[in-house]
């Protein structure tokens, strides 16, 4: 048996006392890491246990932003966000993910760093560049139904599975971190992740000693929020495709738009090209279709996931249509459309 050490972290400055971060993992809710350890996909020498990280369980609300501690559970955050029209995208996304039991354990920081659900990543008898760098990718020519169509490389086509992170990306959230030297920094979540390239095992720009302590979201009006997730079954299924959208329409013109996609990208996909294409234009079905084509121009299917390209386009056009129609009918509307 390979033993591992447990370092209980109580406050962020405890990081200074950690001797080494080599083969070390932060343990938050454990819904992902513990599973991976049981399957011997992750076998860290040290676990930095965040369960006693007292400062990280709070949601604080200032005039400018909401700051969510890294240990805030998905359930608590979903409940909180449900009551804030400006965060309702987040609530919709969280409630579309996993199951109640999992959301009770899963955390804000942990969910941002959720590993892929690539079947071959989970199967230690098969090659996977993410699990075992240099071993190859079994998914590219294998069964790749749940894989990415955007941001992939010839070394990895795994998709990022998180619904929450997709909503955070659309909301342009900021990740707050702290490292072993006590240095803190703020990283836009849109810049947190790395494309797989030839190092698919390195998924973010975080240092080995860098801990996500909180996530903040600016309280700016964003208009109508829609998170639509398409999935094989109605609960406990990762997105085939999902669209996170906030939109403001003024006099028929899209004045503000935020778009991110889940289930289709190697990372929560910020649809920047589509946003730029849509911004300042008058909302029509034709425009929406073109916006989808613009964003999907680089999309590449691998066989079993080819359907994600038309499915994402249909879903995106539908979401944009819903949001713009709602904005036209209710010009100052903020938040989700709960009564359809």
């Amino acid at each position: 048996m390979k033993p591992f050490a447990v370092f209980p972290l109580h406050k962020k400055h405890d990081l200074v006392q950690v001797e080494s971060f080599e083969h070390s993992r932060f343990l938050a809710g454990g819904t992902n890491l513990v599973d991976l350890m049981k399957h011997q996909i992750e076998s860290p020498d040290q676990i930095i246990d965040l369960s006693g990280f007292e400062q990280a369980y709070d949601i604080t609300d200032s005039e400018q932003q909401v700051t969510i501690g890294t240990m805030v559970s998905n359930t608590e955050l979903a409940d909180y966000a449900y009551q804030q029209p400006g965060l309702s995208l987040l609530s919709q996304a969280l409630l579309a993910g996993a199951t109640v039991q999992l959301r009770n354990r899963a955390t804000t920081g942990g969910n941002l760093l959720q590993r892929t659900r690539c079947y071959y990543f989970y199967d230690t008898t098969r090659p996977c560049n993410k699990r075992k760098p240099g071993s190859g990718c079994a998914a590219i020519n294998g069964f790749n139904r749940n894989h990415a169509i955007l941001g992939t490389s010839e070394h990895c086509i795994a998709s990022h599975p998180s619904d929450m992170a997709t909503a955070m990306t659309a909301l342009d959230a900021t990740v707050h971190t702290c490292n072993a030297n006590g240095e803190t920094r703020q990283i836009p979540v849109r810049e947190l992740y790395r494309l797989p390239g030839d190092t698919p095992h390195i998924e973010t720009h975080l240092g080995a000693d860098e801990l996500i302590t909180a996530v903040s979201i600016d309280k700016t009006p964003r208009g109508t929020h829609i998170y639509q997730k398409v999935r094989d079954r109605s609960s406990y299924a990762f997105a085939l495709v999902s669209v996170a959208c906030t939109m403001q329409v003024k006099d028929g013109i899209i004045s503000d738009i935020n778009l991110a996609f889940g289930g289709v990208g190697s990372q929560p996909w910020h649809a920047q090209a589509a946003e730029e294409y849509l911004r300042g234009k008058s909302a029509t079905t034709e425009l929406f279709e073109h916006a989808a084509d613009v964003e999907l121009s680089s999309a590449k299917g691998s066989g079993y996931n080819d359907f994600k390209i038309p499915m994402l386009k249909r879903t995106l056009v539908h979401v944009l249509t819903q949001a713009s129609e709602h904005q036209n009918q209710h010009p100052e509307h903020e938040g989700a459309i709960y009564a359809r």
């Binding site: 048996m1 390979k2 049981k38 399957h39 011997q40 659900r117 079947y119 071959y120 989970y122 199967d123 230690t124 008898t125 098969r126 079994a138 020519n141 294998g142 069964f143 139904r145 749940n146 398409v230 999935r231 094989d232 079954r233 109605s234 609960s235 406990y236 299924a237 990762f238 085939l240 359907f307 038309p310 499915m311 249909r314 879903t315 539908h318 359809r340």
Partner: protein, 736 residues
């Protein structure tokens, strides 16, 4: 629902609670993973092959053996002697040798290469990954198209012939309108809630295995055969089974490997499969390619019905599903042509999954039939009523009972078929579907004993199992009704191979077979008690009342004290045996349970997502022994059928022959939120030609036909006819 005929709350038919329910919710039911040996077991970890076919060229276990806590690493180099797998004389699949770790040949992906036995799971698991082995790969054979399946299996599960038919099919298909369609269903697994688990011990003479298995007698045969041990030195116990669904009919790798470990180390060894391991180390249902052709006249009367099934068969393991038997019995036609062909493949074990043949056969066949009705613009309920058979379509035998038409009529009424309304809500459109199912009824030889103790307790012994179906409860009810006693005076001992051999659980034959054996034992005990009381034969026993045995009624009533009656018996107890065998006279009748399924679904016209609004089933299965457990089984089957229609698909990677989506996150089955209202009603008619109890098989009836009603409702909603199950959103979307 007919009222319970006796006043006993545990009389036959009562919707009685499970007698073992309290034990289960308290965690006191001893499933296979609970250690019942005096000594804590060592833990065995399975190390599996990474390719489906080949030869083990090198296996280095040194590093693993050196790990702390490791007691043994067992490979083909040091394993105990076993009878080789797949000898020609081994034709009984549950009793045949299941040898493993006995040769360098790899039989399928995930096939055990080594068993690591250690003090703890963590130690064994860690050491397992240190085993260094190389397999020289051989080519892998899988079924990819219909024409590759060329072998006619000797027989089909359920005792069917591979080929059956009636009339001149070519001529029948050439008159009227012709329909051709090919449907496919994917690999599927049952993956019961309790993963396959065994704890074995060997004391130098006797091998005892606590496991989770549906049939005990053949499990003993299997261990005797595999390890060349006398049957009398083997005991198998399986008092509680956390779901079987066919995947535990026989013993699987956990039981064999735990036994190998126990024989090797002469102490208890436990092998509990992880969920991922279940997918390769326990059997699955193979994919099917079902080619069909029909002809029908303008009034919707079927002329020809043709069904050619292609399926995989595992090497040296004679199991083939009767995927085409629905075509032989659901409808009458001028000509019927049903053929099954298989291809021997390099897949993990292929064996029964709930309702072998019918679950996936009815899924495809009843969807195909729906295509005809829709094409001819005939109401799908009317179309079916117009074509169902008054006698068995091929053999011409009378049905013992057949309420199929009543199921369709009453089911349609309760579902509100004629009042159905198509609506559009936002992007969602609803639709309605119907299908039917016929499931063959069987009796399998079964024995039981019952003992009346001097404390008044009635103790039943049979090696029957309760796989969650409610066997403990219905056997209690049979005894309670016969002796007119409270349930608390009855003890049912199941799942011990030292008890009289029963049918076991499977094929929907368990309740009728083991139940009739118990009823016969009760009657034999009554007779013995009459004899003890010196009464003339035929003076019927009425009641056990505290310590009194009361014979007859009214003027003829006699009371005897229990102690008087049992005073001269051995051990102050009286034991009687009962048995049942298939009744040859009644085999002249075609015996089937039947079902009509109705469903309403909602389909998203943007994304192709399907959600179920409601399902209704109308069933007829003879006399119902317990309306609660029967209803639960039927509903479970209906839900599973829906799950086959929409979700379940085990993907096999052709490069290594291994399965890909081996967990519940990625092997999708229906969750609560997918399923809407599930309702059913039962048309109860005791069938005493089926068995003395009047009951018929129910376990596989609920799933038979239920998925097709969903598929047909999807078509009704948006016009998407998906012939490649499951009906996932992408496939619906492609037709929108």
């Amino acid at each position: 629902m007919p009222a319970n005929t006796s006043s006993n709350p545990y009389g036959i038919g009562a919707a009685a609670n499970r007698v073992d329910g309290r034990l289960k919710v308290q965690g006191k039911a001893t499933y296979a993973g609970e250690n019942l040996f005096d000594r804590a077991p060592l833990i065995g970890w399975i190390v599996g092959a990474d390719i489906a076919s080949g030869t083990l060229k090198r296996v280095n276990t040194e590093k693993a053996e050196a790990q702390e806590g490791v007691h043994a690493v067992i490979t083909y180099k040091n394993s105990v002697d076993q009878k080789p797998f797949g000898l020609p004389e081994d034709t009984q699949r549950f009793g045949q040798s299941r040898a493993m770790l006995n040769e360098d040949k790899i039989r399928y992906a995930g096939f055990p290469v080594a068993l690591v036995v250690a003090d703890t799971l963590e130690q064994a698991r860690y050491a397992g990954q240190l085993i260094d082995f190389t397999i020289e790969p051989a080519s892998i054979s899988l079924l990819t198209k219909h024409s590759e399946a060329q072998v006619a299996p000797e027989s089909i599960d359920g005792g069917y012939e591979a080929d059956a038919g009636l009339g001149d099919i070519d001529s029948a298909l050439s008159s009227g309108q012709r329909f051709n369609m090919t449907y496919t269903t994917p690999n599927q697994v049952s993956a019961a809630m309790e993963p396959h688990t065994s704890i074995a011990n060997y004391d130098g003479t006797n091998l005892t295995v606590h496991t989770s298995v549906q049939i005990l007698a053949s499990a003993v045969d299997c261990l005797a055969s595999t390890f060349n041990l006398p049957k009398e030195n083997i005991r198998v116990k399986s008092p509680f089974v956390g779901g079987g669904f066919g995947s535990k009919l026989g013993l699987h790798n956990d039981a064999i490997l735990a036994s190998i470990g126990a024989l090797h180390l002469q102490r208890p060894v436990k092998v509990a499969m992880t969920r991922r391991q279940v997918f390769h180390n326990a059997p699955h249902r193979g994919m099917s390619i079902q080619q069909m052709a029909f002809s029908a006249d303008a009034n919707g009367k079927l002329g020809g019905v043709q069904h050619h099934s292609a399926m995989p068969m595992a090497k040296d393991y004679a199991f083939a599903e009767g995927t085409g038997v629905a075509a032989r019995v659901n409808y009458q036609a001028e000509a019927i042509d049903s053929k099954h062909r298989v291809k021997v493949v390099d897949s993990p074990m292929l064996d029964s999954v709930r309702a072998p043949g019918d679950a996936i056969g009815s899924l495809a066949f009843e969807a195909a039939v729906d295509e005809i009705a829709r094409s001819l613009e005939i109401d799908p309920v009317d179309f079916r009523r117009n074509n169902i058979a008054p006698v068995h379509p091929i053999t011409g035998a009378d049905f013992s009972t057949n309420n199929l038409d009543k199921c369709l009529l009453e089911g349609a009424e309760k579902f509100g078929w004629k009042k159905r309304q198509h609506t559009t809500k936002g992007t969602k459109k609803n639709g309605f579907g119907v299908s039917l199912g016929m499931r063959m009824n069987m009796i399998v030889p079964s024995e039981a004993s019952i003992t009346l103790q001097n404390d008044g307790q009635l103790v039943v012994r049979t090696d029957m199992t309760d796989i969650g179906t409610g066997t403990y409860t219905i056997l209690t009810q049979i005894v309670a009704e016969h002796f007119n006693v409270d349930a608390n005076r009855i003890t049912i001992n199941l799942g011990d191979s030292d008890s009289p051999a029963s049918s076991g659980s499977g094929g929907s034959f368990g309740a009728s077979s083991s139940g009739t054996a118990v009823l016969n034992a009760c009657e034999a005990l009554s007779l013995k008690l009459s004899e003890c009381a010196g009464l003339a034969k035929g003076n019927e026993l009425v009641q056990l009342n505290d310590n009194l045995v009361i014979f007859g009624k009214g003027d003829t009533e006699q009371q005897h004290s229990l102690s008087d009656l049992l005073g001269n018996t051995q051990n102050n107890a009286l034991t009687a045996q009962g048995s049942v065998a298939p009744d040859e006279g009644n085999d002249n009748y075609a015996q089937y349970s039947c079902a009509a399924h109705f469903a309403e679904v909602e389909v998203d016209t943007v994304t192709g997502e399907v959600r179920i609004i409601r399902q209704h089933g109308a069933f007829s299965a003879g006399r119902i022994l317990n309306h609660k457990t029967a209803g639960s089984q039927l509903k479970g089957g209906m839900v599973w059928g829906a799950s086959y229609a929409l979700f379940e698909e085990l993907q096999q990677d052709p490069r290594d022959g291994g399965f890909v989506n081996c967990d519940f996150a990625e092997y999708h089955f229906a969750v609560n939120r997918d399923i809407g209202d599930v309702s059913l009603h039962i048309i109860e008619e005791p069938d005493y030609k089926a068995c003395k109890l009047g009951s018929k098989g129910i376990g596989e009836l609920g799933i038979t036909g239920s998925g097709a009603a969903i598929a047909n409702a999807v078509y009704d909603a948006v016009g998407a006819r998906v012939r490649d199950f499951p009906i996932t959103p992408d496939k619906v979307m492609a037709q929108l």
